[in-house]
């Protein structure tokens, strides 16, 4: 059968979600942010809740999320996305509210807002993309930077004695009683991306059932910050990030695993 006979509208099984705008993503080639954006929008599209969903964009690489996601979305001051999401969710309890944050935003300047929103058990979804570095500002060390990992502000590698240990934000919030669902996923292969999509769907379903806060960490790459090709960075991530940030569910239905 000729390829042109297969490429017909009735045979299409996958295309870009209509909830993503036609703007070219500002991310570097191979960045996990693009996949995470698309998976989130695909879930919202499949659930048919695009009219009732409000997103909160962070400061960082994904600051321009409102240019790419074709839903109602606002943008918060650095780290304050969970506080803004709290306000939106309390004003419109019937809406689906999510924040989309990086590790510099959520785990550094926004630690207080994150922990208190989690502790209060606000009915929101937090999507946390962890790539172990400050990507947008030029690859500085983040709280989640691994031990020995080089960055522009730790050129000899992160030293635990003076710089502390990488912060496991997801394990930290899992211990708070207000948090209903906590999981850690990745998006660099088809298996991981499909699992991550299921996790995001579960999180939005929790919002519908008013179960409380769902926290999804996505371990991602930053090939530009790590000074690698996209494929090399994905392999490096599997070898170095996953042992420290193990994938899988950490808290399901309010019960720690």
């Amino acid at each position: 059968m000729n390829v042109l006979d297969i490429i017909k509208p009735e045979n299409q099984v996958f295309c870009k979600s209509k909830l993503m705008t036609d703007n070219t993503l500002s991310y570097c080639p191979g960045c996990g942010h693009g996949t995470a954006h698309n998976l989130t929008m695909e879930v919202i599209d499949e659930m048919g809740i695009s009219e009732d969903t409000i997103g909160v964009a962070p400061v960082g690489c994904s600051v321009l999320a409102y240019d790419f996601m074709n839903i109602d979305i606002t943008q918060a001051a650095h780290g304050r996305a969970p506080a803004v999401a709290t306000a939106i969710a309390r004003t419109w309890p019937e809406k689906y509210v999510f924040t989309y944050q990086g590790d510099g935003d959520l785990a550094a300047i926004g630690t207080a807002e994150t922990i208190h929103a989690c502790n209060r058990g606000e009915n929101i979804v937090i999507i946390f993309v962890n790539n172990g570095i400050y990507g947008m500002t030029g690859g500085q060390m983040a709280p989640t930077t691994l031990e020995g990992m080089k960055s522009s502000t730790s050129p000899y590698g992160r030293e635990i004695e003076s710089m502390g240990s990488p912060l496991k934000m997801t394990e930290l919030v899992a211990n708070l009683p207000g948090v209903h669902y906590v999981t850690r996923q990745a998006v660099h292969t088809h298996k991981h991306a499909r699992k991550a999509k299921k996790a995001i769907k579960k999180a939005f379903e929790n919002t519908r059932l008013k179960k409380g806060l769902s926290f999804i960490e996505i371990v991602s790459n930053c090939n530009s910050g790590w000074k690698m090709t996209p494929l090399e960075s994905n392999i490096w991530m599997e070898e170095n990030m996953f042992p420290y940030f193990p994938l899988g569910d950490i808290k399901v239905n309010g019960v720690l695993k």
Partner: protein, 76 residues
Amino acid sequence: MAKVKGAIVVDTEACKGCEVCIPVCPEDVIGMTSTVNRKGYHYAYMNNPEACTGCTNCAIVCPDRAISVYRVKVTA
């Protein structure tokens, strides 16, 4: 026996040539062109179109969603 045949269409201007789609293809269908798009990136194409099953693995990992997938059932 019904066989499944697939095909992909790459949005050549959206593709940034990251090659993340290549290792996830079980049939080794995708290759990178030697030519570049307007932004200067090499882009993905079907190097081995006969083998494609339309599994959508490449499309779901594409950060820029530059790949659309088509699939038909063929009764041989």
